[in-house]
């Protein structure tokens, strides 16, 4: 038996297991890499944040582990996720050339309030999952309860997916289907994408 045939045989064994676990369902999960975005890590006192209003269009008024989305203003999408009592991740879906202007806008709006603001645009990338099986696919690596009661639209939290730390956001539904945004470090991007892709195939979702 040649090396090539041996490898082919091993793959066959894997796919036999694959087929056993594959339910015959009509679930779907679309996995895509989100467009590049600007991201800022913001740390500031919670009461000061409540008083700060909406610096540069980012809403900071939400409770811990939830997110606010706005697409109304001309400067396009804004997403702010409160990850802890004094920590926010701000995401702006605008061109990279807007980074300095946005940073200046945030700094100006926050004024004298003590805060730290760090541009982490290039540290993260985002993968979006949508479809009826999206939660099931995420649960192959993430131990959180992603049911509608425990993880409704507007939830965002830092957690783990397999060996990667992620920030998981449940964005507004697209039609009837849930939309999850997974922020992970850029160096984990390929690992995350491959893991999600393989999980979707394993549980039998249409990718």
């Amino acid at each position: 038996m040649s090396d090539h045939e041996m490898i082919a045989e091993r793959r066959d064994v894997f796919h036999a297991v694959d087929n056993l676990t594959k339910p015959s369902n009509n679930e779907s999960c679309a996995i895509s890499v989100a467009a590049p975005a600007l991201r800022f890590g913001l740390r500031m006192d919670a009461t000061a944040a409540a008083a700060a209003g909406k610096p540069a269009g980012f809403d900071l008024s939400q409770s811990i582990n939830s997110l606010r989305q706005s697409v109304a203003d001309a400067a396009s999408g804004r997403l702010s996720a409160r990850l802890g009592p004094d920590e926010w991740l701000l995401i702006a879906e605008t061109g990279a050339d807007a980074a300095e202007a946005l940073m200046a806008g945030l700094t100006a709006d926050l004024g004298d309030v003590a805060h730290t603001l760090v541009d982490v645009s290039h540290r993260n990338l985002a993968i979006e999952l949508t479809g009826s099986a999206a939660a099931d696919v995420l649960n192959t690596g993430c131990p959180l309860d992603l049911g509608d009661q425990a993880f409704p639209v507007g939830t965002a939290t830092r957690t783990l997916f397999a060996k990667a730390e992620i920030i998981l956001c449940r964005c507004e539904n697209v039609g009837q289907q849930p939309l999850y945004r997974v922020e992970c470090w850029r160096s984990f991007g390929r690992y995350m994408h491959a893991y999600l892709q393989e999980s979707a195939e394993l549980i039998g979702a249409r990718v």
Binding site: I64, L83, G84, E87, L144, R158, T159, L160
Partner: protein, 113 residues
């Protein structure tokens, strides 16, 4: 899977957390006044309680905040969690002779006698 209740985030899976050792250890206000024995005991000696023990925990892969937890070291059951800076609650079932002050191990110098 063990669920741990983070005071900020609620019940979350155990793998998101990291234990930081014994809680409520009073740091000396003036470390330069300690002799070598006292310094060594502050750094290295811990109560290592069999039973209910107060520990510091960090929600490392969540809100990343530190908090305190009462954990039974025999059953590994986490009985209560509370914010950093709050005094240790006593809930019954503590080991006989457990210290009741904020310092949960013998004062420096006593252990080596």
């Amino acid at each position: 899977m063990l669920l741990i209740k983070c005071p900020h985030c609620g019940e979350r899976p155990e793998i998101e957390f990291h234990c930081g050792g014994e809680a409520h250890i009073a740091r000396p206000l003036d470390p330069s006044q300690l002799d070598d024995v006292q310094w060594a005991e502050l750094l290295f000696y811990r109560a290592n309680t069999k039973g209910v023990m107060a520990e510091r925990w960090n929600h490392l892969h969540g809100c990343q905040r530190w908090f305190n937890a009462l954990r039974n070291t025999v059953s590994d059951k986490i009985l209560r969690t509370y914010m950093m800076g709050e005094p240790r609650p006593y809930i019954g079932g503590e080991a006989q002779g457990a210290a009741t002050g904020t310092l949960s191990y013998p004062a420096p110098g006593e252990r080596s006698k």
